[in-house]
């Protein structure tokens, strides 16, 4: 709108409010439309601004002229009391049909103007866009940076609390993956490169879908990438305890495992399958056990030992959670994995104590 329009005073004595966006441009808007925005309404009532061009209300930074136009269209429609609910719904449905970029800008602007109904409308639209998409698809739609490490992606819930038991299990997995990876590398070099990109998505899908995925082919590729990741993680790990731990294990893996396997109760086949299915377990041991599918001809005994060890660990950690908590709280004495949860002992002692116990 221009000053020229303002000069023609309307016979009905309609009053206008002046609004200024951060780029300096000033617009005039019918008062009842502008008052629909709580932020503008408050500005007018508290400071008296907006009544003329010189005293235009400055709008927040997130509102640019194009988006302001959209917002005013919304306000103009909805401030009219005569519309039926059905009409409003139809208008809303048509209104949010825009590209995601504008939708985000609109949400941001509506939020800064405190226009809650519009924030709800755009939020729902954005939720509809997100719903049903894989993480990869969501990243593409919104241009999100893929800046989490593969490790972080696999263990999202762990990052929030620094649970020492989980760290230990993590290391066990890392070691195992590393070993299997090395063997696998000798076998299949070209195939590995090809499948690198898919792996993260599938990892996440199997983690998130909790075992809905069925394709074995998908899983085989996962392990390779995981092993690489594990390797990187081990490299980057500066925790001296970690290093010691890994060193010792690396030095005599066979011996250690043998010792442990003898002491740790070997779970039966049926238990293995049960745990394979319960992939809501933090680290999806399922992924580990799929190694059994592809690595059959590579030292199966060793692999099986590692499988069992890790599985037993994970099973005890995750499956008996409520009962164990009760045990911990009520009995107070150490049983099975209890010592790890209570004390902040180093992983070394924990591991050895475990070995001793079983």
């Amino acid at each position: 709108m221009s000053e020229g329009v303002m000069a023609v005073v309307k016979p009905e004595m309609k009053s206008y409010i002046w609004l200024q966006t951060t780029d300096g441009s000033i617009q005039q808007v019918e008062e009842e439309v502008a008052m629909f925005c709580p932020m503008i309404c408050r500005e007018i009532l508290q400071t008296g601004m907006g009544s003329s061009k010189n005293y235009a209300i400055s709008l927040p930074q997130r509102v640019n002229p194009a988006i302001l136009g959209l917002i005013l269209d919304y306000c103009r429609f909805h401030q009219v009391p005569g519309h039926s609910n059905k009409e409003r719904k139809t208008f809303n449905e048509k209104f949010v049909r825009m590209d995601t970029k504008r939708l985000c800008e609109l949400t941001s602007a509506a939020d800064s103007l405190q226009l809650k109904p519009l924030v709800d409308l755009t939020s729902r639209a954005l939720a509809r866009i997100i719903e049903g998409k894989t993480p990869e698809e969501i990243r593409e739609t919104f241009h999100l940076p893929d800046d989490l490490t593969e490790e972080e992606k696999l263990e999202p819930l762990r990052n929030i609390t620094d649970d020492p038991r989980i760290r230990l299990l993590n290391r066990l997995y890392a070691r195992k993956r590393k070993e299997l990876k090395e063997r696998e590398k000798l076998k299949n070099v070209e195939v590995e490169e090809e499948r690198v990109d898919e792996r993260s998505v599938d990892d996440l899908l199997s983690f998130i879908n909790g075992g809905d995925q069925d394709s074995k082919g998908v899983r085989t590729t996962k392990n390779k990438k995981k092993n690489r990741r594990r390797k990187e993680q081990l490299k980057h790990s500066s925790d001296s305890v970690d290093v010691n731990y890994n060193k010792e294990l690396d030095a005599a893996p066979a011996a250690c495992n043998q010792g442990n396997i003898d002491n740790i109760l070997v779970p039966t086949r049926s238990k293995t399958s049960k745990l394979q299915d319960s992939s809501a377990v933090i680290f999806s041991p399922k992924m580990e056990f799929d190694d059994a599918d592809i690595d059959d001809d590579i030292d199966p005994a060793m692999k099986e030992e590692l499988d069992r060890e890790v599985e037993d660990f994970a099973r005890r950690l995750n499956s008996d959670w409520p009962e164990r908590m009760q045990e911990i709280l009520s009995l107070g004495h150490e049983r099975r994995l209890v010592p790890m949860s209570i004390n902040g002992e180093g992983p070394m002692s924990r591991f050895s104590s475990l070995g001793r116990r079983y």
Binding site: L144, D277, A280, S319
Partner: protein
């Protein structure tokens, strides 16, 4: 190509503030919302701030799926922070009831505002009594699906200072006392829905609330319908009743605007169709102030004696009729519409039973009350099949309704050749004589 676009695009959504992002995620099922934690570092912690929990086990009965679902819920609850605004849980028998109890307690402890439980269970041992004394609860929906209704165990003291909306489905009230305790504990109740509930023999269902605005009592089962419903709600605006009890007492419904009554079928112990005339009479006496009425069900012979059942409803302007009459519309409508002197809009759904050809019957205009033709502005026919008697009805109305402005015909769903058939009907309708000049005919 896609990769290029991604590199060129700007990530705008991550610039939105945390509360907005968690607001967006609150519209998703919790499983998907948690999945966003691996999108990028910005999104990694958002899921833990979502105040809505939407948990659904999708009726999976495999032990491993249930196991996985229970662990998932445990972890989500363990890692989230902040109050719980809405807690929606849908699960079945395969989920351990002690775990469910724990989850509900979690919600109660975290000041839940809206609790929505949809449980397909045999016993109700997973609903802690704390649900009925929660101070922050504003909306409670308890929906139980089981072969036989489950008795709702209520604590002795029920205290609901904030509860505004209460929906109960599929439960059994053990006695009058528990019903009383429940409703008297809700001091600010605005909406009540009691659906598919069981009332014990000779039970009295008493709802007395000064704040209640919307009430639905549907498909209540009782021992041979031998129960009584008493309603005293001066603020009531909307009332819906499906299947009448034997005895009805409606008091002080002064604010009532809209009522929906479904007569349904009632069978007595001899399996013969029973109709509680007294209950129907009491009902209509109680809703005498209503402006908008939806009548549905099997009206049977009773409606031939309509003038005895339905008193004059002077304020009624809108009538929606969806009934099976067993006799032709021309025998029922004149007397029925005579009870509504203020009628301006009529919606009529064509059902199967009145297949009467009125050309064979003498049908004078004065059978319908005179005021109707000078008042009826809107007339809508639903489920129109294009049969001869239906056209006759339409013809009749168009001929006599002098101030009719909107006449809508909604055709019945038809799979084959729908568009063609509809245009034939439109053509035929447009040829009919209309006494009202302003009348517009719509075929949808």
């Amino acid at each position: 190509m896609a990769k290029q676009a991604r590199m060129e695009g700007v990530d705008r959504i991550s610039n939105l503030p945390d509360p907005i992002l968690s607001h967006i995620l609150s519209f998703l099922p919790t499983k998907e919302a948690v999945a966003t934690s691996i999108l990028s570092t910005r999104w990694s912690k958002i899921f833990s701030q979502i105040s809505n929990l939407n948990l659904d086990d999708h009726c999976k009965r495999r032990k491993s799926d249930s196991y996985s679902f229970m662990n998932f819920v445990d972890r989500v609850l363990f890692y989230r922070i902040g109050v719980v605004d809405k807690f929606h849980l849908k699960c079945g028998d395969s989920i351990d009831s002690y775990r469910v109890d724990g989850w509900i307690r979690y919600a109660l402890l975290n000041r839940v505002r809206e609790l929505d439980l949809c449980l397909k269970v045999k016993e109700l041992n997973m609903v802690p009594l704390g649900v009925f004394t929660c101070k922050t609860l504003e909306v409670l929906r308890l929906d139980i699906y089981s072969k036989s209704n489950i008795v709702l165990k209520l604590p002795v003291e029920i205290c609901y200072p904030s509860l505004k909306i209460l929906h109960l489905s599929g439960i059994e009230f053990s006695d009058d006392d528990s019903i009383q305790r429940l409703f008297s504990g809700c001091s600010v109740l605005e909406e009540l829905v009691v659906d598919r509930c069981n009332l014990k023999h000779r039970c009295k269902f008493n709802v007395s609330s000064p704040t209640l605005q919307r009430l639905t009592i549907a498909y209540t089962k009782g021992y041979y319908q031998d129960y009584e419903i008493v309603i005293d709600a001066p603020s009531l605006v909307y009332f819906k009743c499906c299947h009448l009890p034997k005895s009805f007492l409606l008091k002080n419904l002064n604010s009532l605007v809209e009522a929906c009554v479904d007569f349904g079928t009632v069978f007595d112990c001899y399996d013969s169709f029973v109709y509680y005339n007294k209950a129907a009479t009491d009902l209509f006496k109680g809703i005498s102030n209503v402006q908008s009425l939806h009548l549905s069900g099997i009206f049977a012979e009773v409606f031939l004696q309509v003038s005895n059942i339905i008193p004059e409803l002077p304020k009624l302007t809108y009538l929606n009729l969806d009934g099976y009459f067993f006799v032709g519309w021309e025998r029922v409508l004149p007397d029925l519409l005579a009870c509504f002197p203020g009628l301006e809009a009529l919606v009529f759904k064509v059902n199967q039973h009145y297949s009467c050809d009125i050309s064979r019957v003498k049908f004078p205009a004065k059978a319908f009350p005179a005021f109707l033709w000078s008042q009826l502005r809107t007339f809508k026919i639903l489920s129109f099949k294009g049969q001869k008697n239906e056209f006759q009805m339409v013809e009749y109305f168009l001929e006599y309704a002098q101030v009719l402005e909107n006449f809508t015909v909604q055709t019945r769903e038809r799979k084959q050749d729908a568009a063609n058939w509809r245009s034939k009907i439109t053509k035929k309708l447009s040829k009919l004589q209309k006494v009202s000049k302003k009348c517009k005919v719509w075929v949808v």
